[in-house]
Subunit: 206 residues, 2 copies
DNA sequence: CCTACCGATCGGTAGG
DNA sequence: CCTACCGATCGGTAGG
């Protein structure tokens, strides 16, 4: 898996980060102890502090290296250049594929919001916006068939759509409600974003 | 305020619940100690246990009494009976009014998802669905101008819309991005839900 | 409802 | 990288 190319120190570093990542996703930051992290990483408690100064530093490292946008952004940027409707559908498809089986990756964002009051989140957002904003600005400008002309609002709505899709997925997962959902829920969800829940009612279609 | 009608025990009970509520919203469940709750409630640590058996029981009480849906559901149900587009707009307006100044009420849901793995959430959902589902079922059936014919999907999308609106509100709150947002972001957000981001492109309108 | 306490566990460190 | 330890704090309880 390429881990043969890493030094022992690097492998231990990664093992600690991965162990902490899994534990944080599963039970939150404060509820996770350094001892749990050490156990899962396969080393003694004290060994962690050869690689990280504190528990907080582990979380910061995880936010930087494992934030969902790391996985999602490349897909979103790569989906550009085609038809707008297809861009959105492709982006959504890529995101669903990338997030894959479990929507629990978003827990990292939720932990950041609740337990850190968005401390790192605001910084991330201000770093990311200049990268993504132009894309949405261009979308709005180059195509005439947008109802939404404010690129910031479009970006927010798109991001909110992704977020709400995975959140509602998590919420209904263990519930009977999920059986009522259509198979292609992701596509249908995206369709609402693109066309809304209502047909045009001014008699100009259907 | 009506608190004169309450016994001393009831007032203490409420003070503990309210103190814990505020602390949980601000820093999460695990990061909040019973001593912090006692201090904020104005009693000694041991005094809490005259009213609650455990920390967990306090959280359960809060989930039942202070869950956002308690505030939101009446508004949503009351918004029924009018035109569908207006129903949605009215519901959104009521919700924004009710949630009011701070979107941090949703933190309760986030804590429940991350720190309790949706333990209470699934139960709540199964209780609530029978109440709300018929409303959306009726909406879909009685009006012809719906693109979305699956009531479960419509419910999920509506709930996701509300959730994502307040989440993105929290996220962008301390960021420069919020200055790029239109004043009536809530209405615009709702508008996307109703009509999508795209104009109909089959030439049948505008 | 408070005081005083329990054992357990916390994040972190020294010293090897 | 481990062993053994630090002071602090945790949730909870007994006894009044």
């Amino acid at each position: 898996m390429g881990s043969e190319e890493l030094s022992k120190g690097e492998r231990t570093w990664l093992a600690i980060e991965e162990a902490a990542y899994e534990l944080f996703l599963g039970q939150g930051y404060s509820a996770t102890s350094m001892r749990q992290i050490a156990d899962r990483a396969g080393i003694a408690l004290g060994g962690i502090y050869n690689h990280f100064k504190s528990k907080d530093e582990i979380f910061e490292s995880i936010i930087i290296n494992k934030h969902p946008y790391k996985k999602l952004l490349p897909g979103i940027m790569a989906a550009e250049g085609e038809d707008i409707e297809e861009f959105t559908r492709n982006a959504m498809r890529l995101i669903v594929e990338e997030m894959g089986d479990n929507p629990y990756y978003v827990n990292l964002m939720l932990i950041e919001i609740v337990e850190f009051k968005g401390k790192h989140g605001a910084k991330l957002l201000d770093e990311l916006t200049p990268k993504v904003f132009p894309l949405f600005e261009k979308l709005v400008k180059t195509r005439k068939n947008f109802r939404v002309t404010n690129p910031a609002l479009l970006l927010r709505a798109f991001f909110g759509l992704i977020l709400s899709y995975f959140l509602t997925e998590m919420i209904i997962r263990d519930s009977v409600v999920s059986s009522l959902m259509p198979k292609n829920a992701a596509e249908a969800y995206m369709d609402i974003f693109l066309h809304g829940v209502l047909k045009e009612k001014d008699g100009k279609n259907v």
